[in-house]
């Protein structure tokens, strides 16, 4: 078979898959970009041409930038805590402990629940009049705390729910990483007389760096879309204390029906996230691997 014919043959096989990929990934993105260049709202139906007017609005929209700052804080905070907790839990059940399988399953349960449903349950738990959180803390002489009505507490509550829900994901990835580690470095460390702390910092942690970077990046991507928890728990309040970018875009797009503007917000947000996460990934590689690989 001629080389050219073979290439065409390969292309013919690849083309359907490529077209589906284009339809699934590129079309919504391109359509959103087109919508963002329109003035589609409750009054102007459909795709007129508004040029970059929406983007100019985004740059002057203080509420959007504030929400982005808030989101960054919450996303980085929750993911770091998830990483530490997930790592600790993974180390715990990596070893031979009693009921290891049971613990592994138990630790995964929060991740398997539906975020919106769990947010409703957490809202009930945090309810300052009727919820059990203050009652339980009251038994040991603590509280009551304004879980959802004070800015600081509301941010902490949203973060707590996120940490509760997604630490299992971190746990799962890190545990998988731990299980796949070679035994030889640990044997060598033991022969050299390294204790558990030294073994962790000099062997386990470096060996798990690639998995750690992947897990943190995946969680940061997910955490940057934080919306359902805010929607259910606080509606972005008190004031704008817990208003994240996702929630703000939801309000602008689906509540206010400023479809064109919300699309511009979404595209801007996407670009910022791609840039930020790329920088974060580079930084993580530097921190975890010390710049040896990049």
């Amino acid at each position: 078979m001629q080389q050219r014919e073979f290439r065409l043959y390969k292309l013919a096989f690849l083309l359907p898959g490529l077209l589906i990929l284009l339809a699934i990934i590129l079309f919504p993105l391109l359509f959103t970009i087109r919508v963002s260049l329109s003035g589609w709202d409750a009054i102007v139906p459909g795709l007129d041409w508004a040029g970059v007017r929406n983007y100019a609005g985004v740059f002057a929209d203080a509420r959007f930038w504030q929400s982005l700052g808030r989101l960054s804080l919450m996303a980085v905070g929750t993911v770091l805590i998830q990483y530490v907790l997930g790592f600790a839990l993974a180390l715990l059940v990596w070893r031979d402990i009693r009921f290891r399988r049971l613990w592994r399953v138990l630790f995964l349960i929060p991740m398997m629940t539906t975020p919106v449903i769990m947010s409703v349950i957490w809202r009930t738990i945090f309810h300052e009049s009727l919820g059990p959180a203050n009652d339980l803390l009251g038994f040991i002489g603590l509280g009551p705390y304004p879980w959802l009505t004070s800015a600081g507490w509301a941010v902490a509550s949203v973060m707590l729910v996120e940490i509760w829900q997604w630490t299992p994901f971190m746990f799962l990835l890190l545990l998988a990483g731990l299980i796949s580690l070679p035994r030889e470095p640990f044997l060598a460390a033991a022969i050299d007389g390294a204790g558990p702390i030294r073994t962790f910092f000099n062997v386990t942690f470096p060996l798990l760096a690639p998995v750690s970077i992947g897990a943190i990046i995946i969680r940061l991507i997910e955490a940057s879309k934080l919306m359902e928890t805010v929607y259910v728990l606080t509606s972005g309040g008190p004031g704008t204390a817990t208003e994240t970018t996702g929630y703000y875009i939801y309000i602008r797009g689906l509540r206010d029906f400023q479809i064109g503007y919300a699309a511009a917000l979404s595209i801007t947000y996407l670009v910022i996230m791609i840039v930020l996460l790329t920088i974060v990934a580079k930084l993580l590689v530097r921190v975890f691997v010390g710049g040896k690989t990049a």
Binding site: S129, L254, Q258
Partner: protein
């Protein structure tokens, strides 16, 4: 066969002794509705008998409505009945409140006839009016429609056309614990501590003062502390309506015409005038009397706080009152209704000064509620109007009013009879009388406040809610927050077009200024 089965299963007994009524209707065949008894099928174009005579076999009616139960459950119920009577296929789509607006608007804007019948909040009329089929004259002549009170005819009207089909009546009013206000011990205690007589608040200042007095101690004598006021305060959860209720007293000056939210001729926002600022200051002050978590209360929280006996007073839609009057409620028949509190000081934007009123100014807020309409693009308009006519016929309405979770509240003259509430639901005389008097009294007012029924209403209201939330959380002063709202309202007006907003707002102002 189908129809005969329906008549049998719906337990309709022929009323031979009363020829005016063909049969008694009940919902037993459709679920756990036996406790609500039956209602007579009043003859007319919308009656069971008349609808049964129609044949829509082979046709499909597509209905979009709210999630179950509020308005969604009666839609389902009446759809099944209509299907059984006419042979039509009725497809009902239930949508959560947060998604309902876009689910309506996208098909409208893309010219798809996705639904024949829509149930939605009536304040969206400014956005959807171009897509709605006016209610035909024949349907406006049916007896049930003629009993719709002026307020709810006005809510359904755009310009001089009725384009929404009234199925519900909503308003905000004050609910309070009558047993506590009537308690001599508490009356003495209040007098001793404040020097004032304890009475149902007539002004928002009195409301806040009474609410604060009854906060943090066990006046309910159930071993737990109770609180003065439960209000809807959660941002993006109808809080804007609570604020409008409070602001009406300070800003809806009966001597000033030409717009409440905007000055109609200039389209200058009034939302940051001293009246609105004062209302916001009072809203913030009231937080001292809220239950724990009260600054994050959605409508559901407000309903259960007042309805569950945690709070002395509340104001919003009917739900909290109905909840308090449920058979299992610990405060059943210990509650009463009253008009919203007012103010003796009312801002006059014409003179830029406060006007003083001897009798507190207390404009009723004819707030938005559930309404229905038929799409202009529907190919089944006759069937669609028949469905709405059937949905709201006398028998169905009488039964729906009794089922609190349905969200159907009084909107016809015949609903304002205390005997109905006493006999059908076992309310005591005082509760029924204050409820009926309060609700029907709003129909007598010449100083009504309506929602901002203009295109882009959600943009205006979410901006307002955000400003109020910022002030309530202490992030900005009331004046700063409302100045910010006014600036954003100007931007929204500019974006939509001042003439367009003015033209729509003129319809609202006409209702408010026309009086009754």
């Amino acid at each position: 066969m189908k129809r005969h089965a329906f008549w049998l299963t719906s337990a309709c007994a022929l009323a031979t002794a009363a020829p005016a009524f063909a049969a008694d209707i009940d919902y037993k065949a459709y679920g756990d509705y036996a406790q609500y008894g039956s209602a007579p099928d009043v003859p007319g174009a919308c009656s069971y008998e008349a609808i049964d005579a129609k044949d829509y076999s082979g046709k499909t009616l597509r209905v979009i409505t709210h999630a179950v139960p509020v308005i969604g459950e009666p839609t389902d119920l009446h759809a099944k009945q209509f299907q059984a009577l006419t042979g039509a296929q009725v497809d009902v789509v239930h949508i959560p409140f947060g998604d309902l607006y876009q689910r309506l608007m996208i098909p409208f804007q893309t010219r798809q006839a996705a639904y024949d019948v829509m149930f939605y909040p009536s304040l969206w009329i400014g956005d959807v009016q171009n897509y709605l089929q006016p209610v035909p004259a024949a349907y406006q002549e049916v007896p049930g429609m003629k009993e719709v009170t002026q307020n709810y005819r006005d809510v359904a009207t755009w310009g001089d056309q009725m384009i929404q089909y009234p199925v519900d009546g909503d308003r905000h009013y004050l609910k309070y614990r009558s047993d506590i206000f009537d308690n001599p011990e508490y009356q003495q205690r209040f007098k001793a501590e404040t020097g004032q007589d304890l009475r149902v608040p007539r002004t928002w200042e009195e409301y806040n003062a009474v609410a604060k007095f009854f906060t943090g101690w066990d006046w309910g004598k159930d071993g737990r502390g109770q609180f003065g006021s439960a209000e809807v305060t959660k941002r993006d959860d109808l809080m804007f309506s609570a604020f409008i209720s409070r602001a009406a007293a300070y800003t809806k000056n009966p001597n000033v015409k030409g717009g409440y939210f905007f000055k109609l001729d200039t389209m200058e926002p009034q939302i940051n005038n001293p009246g609105f600022v004062k209302a916001l200051e009072m809203f913030i002050d009231a937080q001292k009397a809220f239950p724990p978590g009260g600054t994050n209360f959605g409508l559901g929280d407000e309903i259960f706080s007042f309805g569950g006996g945690q709070s002395l007073m509340s104001y919003s839609w009917d739900d909290a009152f109905i909840q308090a009057q449920e058979a299992s409620s610990p405060i059943r028949n210990k509650v009463a209704a009253a008009p919203l509190p007012g103010s003796t000081q009312v801002w006059n934007r014409d003179t830029n000064a406060w006007d003083t009123f001897e009798t507190p100014n207390a404009p009723p807020y004819i707030t938005w509620g559930w309404t229905s309409a038929v799409s202009k693009a529907s190919k089944n308009q006759d069937m669609a109007f028949d469905f709405l006519c059937f949905f709201s016929n006398e028998a169905n309405t009488q039964l729906d009013l009794q089922i609190g979770r349905f969200g159907v509240n009084p909107y016809r003259t015949t609903h304002f009879d205390p005997a109905f509430w006493q006999e059908k639901l076992g309310w005591d005389a005082n509760t029924a009388k204050t409820y009926v008097d309060t609700l029907s009294g709003m129909d007598q007012s010449n100083n009504r406040v309506f929602d901002l029924r203009v295109p882009g209403v959600n943009q205006f209201m979410s901006t307002l809610a955000n400003g109020i939330a910022e002030a309530m959380a202490g992030q900005r002063t009331p004046q700063e927050a409302l100045d910010g709202v006014a600036a954003q309202w100007k931007e929204i007006v500019d974006r939509i077009g001042a003439d367009r907003v003015r033209e729509a707002y003129a319809n609202v102002v006409a209702l408010e200024d026309r009086g009754r």
